[in-house]
Symmetry: C2
Subunit: 348 residues, 2 copies
DNA sequence: TTGTAGGCGTTATCAG
DNA sequence: CTGATAACGCCTACAA
């Protein structure tokens, strides 16, 4: 079956291809009756414009690349939803790239992004190094980094939509100090190194300002199982820190379960908080506190920013760095051990 | 900055563009020294072939569309990983589409798929109706449906990689009957209707064969919170079914928590099983049984099948329907109430 | 082994 | 308002 082209439509409607092109693109210089005729021909033949050819003619693909780490997939679904919805609104197609250690190095991803001639790029977190970003910048391709804050102020066609993890951690530690807690542990997360670093900086800063040194950075293997096993052993004869901070839900749950089963009492002996929220934190007993990040909005805002950059919206000259607000999600309040049932309504 | 083209390279290397094209495409009819020269020119200029132009010239985009429901995003991450990895191996780009009730109707997605002239499509589950599939088939675009089994045998350029949920449910119920259990509830999952239907068919078939009628299909709102609230109330003065089957982890956990807190004893009073596995099932107390579906493999197999279809591999003439094996994940074995710590190693 | 020229399907510029 | 025609960047017979 031969793919039907603009020529076929032109012949069918007895006009030139230029006219067909005009009605496709809503050019308003077409007389109403000929537009009708063309429309009918289009319907009749089932013609769909070839986006590839359009892309070539316009040097514009109306496609945006999203690149994220394969591991973080499940965790970023809400951000992705925000990105996709806004992309849809502005009629952009999405090219999806994942990076992982073995099979798809960042290098290859960049290569294919450039070849694809996408109009813009959304880069997740910053699981990439500066050089890689440079390559993209060389090719003048607008991009926005979403997740963590860039260390350096973005220049050129680069935007940044982020959560200020450093401030978050800094505030959290200060509040803890106010409550008389200074025995704090931060659990390493190898999947989110740059966010980790920012948390750490915030914590260390707070400690320093109190004339203390932070030494509670611990790491172990990254799966729930090994974390849990490690901690189960560890808590057997060692009390947990008064406050344990983790990045992801499963890490927090590992702490909760291990400490619980070793006989330590939540709130009384220790507290655990996960930076990222998830519905599962409400399902453990006792439930676990966290921060609510408006992830969907983050995605939506990031994509919106990119679309603005793509049309050279003047307003983005100044606002290429957007900080996203967060709020604490308290599920367990005091030492009574009483648990709220569930307070966070998540898309299930 | 002018994008550099094949012409620029040709001039730089002092050959014709045809020759450049040949070295790009590894045509082996190029003399070694000229190939060298061309390569150097390419490096020097930082030339990257324009995939759009290639696509136009070849009527082939080396791009595959993946379409899935926005809601199912977080649940399908492992399948997606399998899809992505294999796509990468065969050098296909991925166009990503999500469907949701409001913003992106299936209709629009199909439209953009056709316009994009992708080489093939991966369709998740079957949250789409037959008509929609017909449209895609009309345009002769090869596709494979992954997730549930198609009701009708695929014809034309359609493949199907699936888990036989009907059989799974049928077997599960029969085993339960063998163990003397016939009071079974299946919890509705609105996000996975077709899988639900298949589970239901399997259960009903088993009941029928035992001369009984299955009446345990219950549904309530879809979030964890509302499920939990509903069940908490429900179990206050009503015993859970002897066996409660849910599709997703959060539904199972809602049952577990609500029943637990209402004082019902796991294994002794009731059992709950989630069809889909997730690491979170190991984190609840007592942990929850499930089935392990090799999700990554499912994705990988599906993508591999599609790539074969795209090159008209003769072997796919027969094997366009691939059934994926599953295996039970037992985390709680008997009535002692003792829980295995964790038995499933998930990517954390 | 290399170069020439036509074609892939659209858009945009200029005449008419 | 409509119709030629030259791009857009690359591939591939066909010639040389």
């Amino acid at each position: 079956m031969k793919r039907i082209t603009i020529y076929d439509v032109a012949k069918e409607a007895d006009v030139s291809l230029a006219t067909v092109s005009r009605v496709i693109n809503d050019s308003n210089v077409v007389r109403e009756d000929t537009r009708q005729r063309v429309q009918e021909a289009i319907e009749k033949l089932g013609y769909k414009p070839n986006a590839i050819a359009q892309g070539l003619a316009l040097s514009k693909t109306t496609t945006i690349s999203i690149v994220m780490s394969e591991n973080l997939f499940a965790y970023n679904s809400r951000i992705l939803n925000g990105l996709m919805d806004v992309a849809k609104i502005y009629n952009y197609n999405i090219m999806f790239h994942t990076t992982s250690k073995g099979i798809s190095r960042m290098q290859d991803v960049i290569e294919s992004i450039i070849k694809s001639r996408v109009d813009g790029v959304i880069l997740f977190n910053d699981n990439f190094n500066d050089e890689e970003m440079e390559v993209l910048k060389e090719y003048q391709i607008p991009m926005v980094i979403v997740g963590a804050r860039l260390d350096r102020k973005p220049e050129g066609k680069v935007g940044n939509v982020y959560v200020n993890f450093e401030k978050l951690a800094y505030d959290l530690v200060n509040e803890s100090f106010d409550r008389g807690i200074d025995d704090i542990t931060l659990v390493e997360d190898k999947l989110n190194l740059s966010m980790m670093n920012q948390l750490r900086r915030g914590i260390e800063k707070a400690y320093e300002e109190h004339g203390k040194e932070f030494k509670g950075y611990i790491g172990y293997d990254d799966s729930y199982k090994s974390s849990y096993n490690f901690l189960t052993d560890y808590y057997k004869d060692k009390k947990p820190s008064r406050l344990v901070i983790t990045f992801r839900d499963s890490q927090a749950i590992a702490v909760r379960n291990a400490a619980n089963e070793a006989g330590w009492k939540s709130m009384e002996d220790y507290e655990v908080i996960s930076i990222l929220d998830s519905k599962y934190l409400a399902m453990v007993r006792p439930p676990i506190n966290s921060y609510i990040l408006p992830e969907y909005d983050m995605g939506a805002i990031a994509m919106r920013l990119l679309t603005k950059m793509l049309v050279n919206d003047p307003s983005v000259q100044e606002d290429r760095e957007i900080e996203i607000e967060y709020s604490p999600m308290i599920r367990e309040k005091d030492k009574t051990g009483e648990t709220e049932k569930v307070t966070f309504e998540a898309v299930s």
